[in-house]
Symmetry: C2
Subunit: 168 residues, 2 copies
DNA sequence: ACAGAAATAGTCAGACTTGAGTATAGCGAA
DNA sequence: TTCGCTATACTCAAGTCTGACTATTTCTGT
């Protein structure tokens, strides 16, 4: 059983604020949260179905005008409780991320040092580009997200420090 | 088609060094790489089968004594080429990780500030524990891994900085 | 000498994930 | 008015991942 908890937390947190239909949830995630969670649209539908199955949300079909039916999700009292538990667990826990780019470094001796340097130089440019994107997000997204953007920026800086150390 | 590339890179890199059977590969990963890659044993078998299907490794069954048969994997010339390509791509790329614990922060206002503080204090202890574990790894693992351990330590430090900023 | 633990070597059902596809509605331009 | 493009709302087949399990061999303590 993999650990959906943070995505469940996200979905329940959104529904806690207000009832929403699937498309709306996905739109919100894509526009405001994509930079810090990885959750595709089809996966969100799947998870919502699971939350319903577990009694944490209810599903109600409605239609507006002649548009196709939509399923409106609403959090249940059990869902509220679950949300609180997930939130407490999430805040108290530290889950170290995995850095996909570590693997390359392990095998760097299989390439000529000069080429490794060039490749890492390119990586450095990509990191700088990502840093810029984060900075511009800060001006676009609501202020609730500032702490998280700052979190990402701190790590990007750490990444730049490390790669410069490797280049030296 | 998800992006196995870093795990393929890992498997090919190990086989490039010497032929190995599945169990041996898994043992090595569990003992030396678990701290920087997330790859379960059954997944490794699955990926090896895929690499074979794609012609990057060959599989040969052998038996030693009365033990059950084992499948020995050996990298092919095509696998060598693929390895080089994956390695170059990996070194030149930056793949920002996702931080599972960000989600909690988004919803922190749903709990009393004092409790949030206590929970984050606990998280901080967990980060410190993780930092210690990394430091002790540095004394146990071969020196090739030092750069990567350093990489993780830099990020753990960044994480501690950030959380202390939040607590203040 | 022999029972129980640990190591060896995988297999597989079932859960998770997602790109590609389906189907209808509104809207702007020619 | 009608052709095509975008927005709305999902669905699903196919691919991926892993916890739990099987089965045999070798050690270890008594």
């Amino acid at each position: 059983m993999p650990d959906h908890s943070e995505r469940q937390l996200l979905l329940l947190g959104l529904l806690r604020h207000q009832e929403m239909h699937g498309y709306q949830i996905n739109e919100f995630i894509d526009e405001q949260m994509a930079f810090c969670v990885d959750l595709k649209r089809s996966t969100a539908y799947y998870l919502l179905e699971r939350l319903r199955h577990e009694g944490y949300v209810t599903e109600e079909t409605e239609r507006t005008g002649n548009r196709p039916e939509r399923r409106v999700y609403r959090i249940t009292p059990a869902g509220e409780t679950h949300f609180q538990a997930l939130l407490r667990a999430n805040l108290a826990t530290y889950t170290p991320p995995t850095y996909a780019n570590d693997i390359g470094l392990i095998f760097h001796q299989h390439l000529p040092p000069a080429e490794v340097r060039t490749l890492l130089e390119t990586r450095r440019q990509n990191i700088l580009a990502h840093q810029q994107k984060l900075k511009s997000l800060a001006t676009v997204l609501p202020t609730d997200h500032l702490a998280i953007i700052r979190h990402h920026l701190i790590h990007v800086t750490a990444e730049l420090d490390w790669i410069e150390e490797q280049l030296a």
